[in-house]
Amino acid sequence: MSDVVMQIDGKEVKAGGDMTVLQAARAAGIHIPTLCHHDKLEPFGACRMCMVEVETRGRMSYVVSCLYPVAKDLVVRTRSERVDKIRRVILEELLAHAPNSPELVELAREYRADRDRFDKDPSFCILCGLCVRYCAEVKQKNAVDFIERGALREISFIPEIAKKECWECQECFALCPTSYAQAAYFLTEALAFPGRRKASAQSA
């Protein structure tokens, strides 16, 4: 696809025709915060932190830049009062689950999010799905997945697969913004193959 010229934060930006707004912004050195995005993974569009204001044919809307395709003459604003408010409230909602996640704490500072705004529910997981999608898309093992829906949604390792696949991998731990993936995995270990860690430490 041919290149398009568009505007991001008042700056003229040339982007590949098949890029998303997030890719175009990053290529132009413009920062947009994300929590569920990873370059190796398909865009997920779940955390909504990367929302930006776009104007096309005089109509303004709020879209997630990780999925929104670039277009000729598109006008993008990565910061505005409203964009900042969306990010602030999202952060406040997530801080109710993981009040000490370094990534969240840093973003909270930037967007003046109050981590005590909402009732705490320290589940630690913010359901960004990085572990789930990395395991499915990159490792193609599907050892960890979402279970339940709505407010009950959580991640869970599938013991049968985890037993075979996770010991040698554990690559998802480093992706997790809250260390919850690790915690969930250790719980699975304790349930599905207890003793292996101790045995391997003793034999080492």
Binding site: G45, A46, C47, R48, M51, Y62, V63, V64, L67, Y68, P69, R82, K85, I86, V89, I90, E93, L94, A96, H97, R117, F118, D119, D121, I126, L127, G129, F146, E148, R149, G150, A151, L152, R153
Partner: protein
């Protein structure tokens, strides 16, 4: 059944069906719609069938088990045609008397409608207040059709519109007619169906799909089920016409796994239509091929959202995906997929057979045709209502619905279920119109109208809807999952007298972001009920919050004193 190979053969078949029927012979239609079914209409129908069997072949009357008649409040419903005599709350023991009177051309006076205040009687369907203010273009045929028999639909002119479209019109002309009629989607958004069809038609790709969204998972909405269960061929005919216009050869009906009666009727309709050659290869000898398959949901509300529904048909979990590229361009398996709901498809045959000009004569400037409404809540007559667009809500609630029970005053009317909005009773003269009601903050949605009386706690209403949606959200995106979780907590606290200062601001922020930032329409519109509450009933919220704060400071003072 023989396969029909031309429009002429269809008309021959129709003439044969009509000539075998005596229009003067009484036909007793027993409603087997969901509400009447729940009131044991099966036993009523069985009693009729047993009595008629006793009379033998020369009985001089027949019994028809039909879909929903509409007046759910007074079921089991029985209508005796050709006069259209309505009997209400019929019990199996009433059956011999009804049969005896029908044969004598008499009316069973004790079973006809009597006005609750004046006692004034109404015998015929056109005189009963619940029916007489309606315009029943879509649901009206329900009393004349046994949904298991395609011949009943053919007897009423069924599939005539399909024959007209296939043999007298090009696909482009069909599309133009629907566009000209300004048929707007009945599923919630009110998007012009013709424009959607056009997008799918013009989208690149050979394989295109058409879909009937028959999910109707919204609490308080039961009109699509009533229409589709009672008259499956009307929807199917609309779908086939749409497929022809768009250039699709494969259709899907997506419905609930837990509606056995509906599923049975749909499957029978598909089988019978196929046997007659109205579906499948070379429809009516026109050269147009079209097949339909039925898919079932997995029991969650969000599967009715169009992109989630398409994911579900693909065999994936029903999670919505962002629609920056429309599903009419990239839907099921990324192919152009045109989805309309049951009622939208059901409107198509009459637009083709009677023309866009006729259709445009009904309704308002921006909203044409009739609209089915599921009327429930604090209203005397609940049921399925069909009125022309533009009808004042007052007519629906008072003239058709019979007003508020117990002599109470109305407080609010709520449209669109958990993703709709409430407007106060002083706006009840507003017209049933997509745009007018959206402006007031109570978009029609799918058409569930809930009436609330003066005793209704508006905080609790919002809490109830949020509780439903919190469980039904797929949980993928943060502002939906977390926004609703926190909103529900705040609302629950207020209803328990634990409101805090700042709750209104908290609710407004949460609601604002949920409405703006969610991935799909479920999330974005989940904020609508509360938005309307804070627009019209804020004082009630503030009072309840203040009561909570006072309660706490009172308690604190009390404990300090001891």
């Amino acid at each position: 059944m023989t396969r029909l190979n031309s429009a002429a053969e269809l008309e021959q078949l129709r003439a044969g069906i009509l000539s075998s029927r005596d229009p003067a012979k009484p036909c007793i239609a027993v409603c087997a719609g969901a509400a009447c079914h729940g009131l044991d209409s099966v036993r009523v129908a069985q009693a009729f069938q047993a009595e008629v069997a006793k009379l033998g072949p020369g009985a001089g009357l027949e019994v028809r088990v039909t879909g929903c008649h509409g007046y759910c409040e007074k079921g089991p419903n029985v209508v005796v045609d050709p006069e259209g005599i309505c009997y209400f709350e019929v019990k199996p023991e009433d059956v011999p008397e009804i049969i005896a009177c029908t044969l004598k051309k008499e009316v069973v006076e004790r079973l006809v409608y009597a006005h609750p205040d004046t006692g004034e009687r109404a015998v015929h369907i056109g005189e009963v207040p619940f029916y007489k203010h309606q315009m029943r273009l879509l649901i009206g045929d329900n009393t004349r059709i046994d949904p298991m028999r395609i011949d009943d639909y053919l007897a009423l002119g069924g599939y005539g519109a399909l024959a007209k479209a296939l043999f007298q019109m090009t696909p482009g002309q069909v599309l133009d007619e629907v566009k000209k009629a300004n048929l707007r989607g009945r599923g919630g958004g009110g998007f012009p169906a013709g424009l959607k069809w056009e997008t799918a038609k013009n989208a690149p790709g050979k394989d295109k799909y058409v879909i009937v969204n028959a999910h109707e998972g919204e609490p308080g909405a039961f009109m699509d089920r009533a229409l589709f269960t009672g008259n499956p061929h009307k929807v199917l005919e609309g779908l086939i016409i749409g497929a022809y216009a768009i250039g699709s050869h494969r259709g899907f009906i997506y419905t609930r796994h837990d509606s056995p009666q509906l599923i049975c009727h749909i499957e029978q309709a598909l089988a019978q239509a196929e046997e007659y050659g109205l579906l499948g290869e070379n429809i009516l000898g026109s050269g147009f091929d079209f097949r339909v398959e039925v898919h079932y949901d997995v029991g969650i509300f969000v599967s009715g959202e169009s992109s989630a529904l398409m994911r579900s048909i693909e065999g994936n979990p029903p999670e919505p995906r962002p629609k920056y590229i429309r599903t009419s361009v990239a839907g099921i398996w990324d192919r152009p997929s045109n989805l309309n709901n049951v009622e939208t498809w059901a409107n198509v045959p009459q637009i083709i057979s009677r023309g866009a000009d006729w259709y445009r004569g009904i309704g308002t400037e921006g909203s044409k045709g009739t609209k089915l409404v599921s009327l429930s809540g604090n209203v005397v007559n609940s049921g399925v209502v069909e009125v022309p667009m533009g009808t004042p809500l007052r007519t629906i609630v008072y003239d058709i619905g019979g007003g508020i029970p117990g002599g109470k005053a109305a407080k609010a009317v709520h449209f669109g279920g958990p993703m709709g909005g409430s407007i106060p009773a002083n706006l009840i003269d507003a017209p049933l119109d997509f745009d007018e009601l959206a402006k007031l903050g109570a978009p029609i949605g799918a058409g569930g109208l809930l009436v609330m009386d003066e005793d209704t706690d508006m905080v609790d209403v919002a809490r109830y809807f949020l509780e439903f949606l919190t469980n039904e959200s797929c949980g993928k995106c943060v502002p939906c999952r977390e926004g609703m979780r926190q909103t529900l907590k705040v609302l629950t606290n207020i209803t328990k007298g634990k409101g805090r200062e700042g709750d209104i601001a908290r609710l407004e922020d949460l609601n604002d972001v949920t409405g703006a930032a969610c991935l799909c329409a479920l999330g974005r519109t989940a904020s609508d009920p509360l938005k309307s509450m804070l627009r019209y009933f804020k004082v009630e919220y503030e009072t309840q919050i203040a009561r909570g704060s006072e309660g706490r400071s009172g308690n604190a003072a009390g404990s300090a004193a001891t």
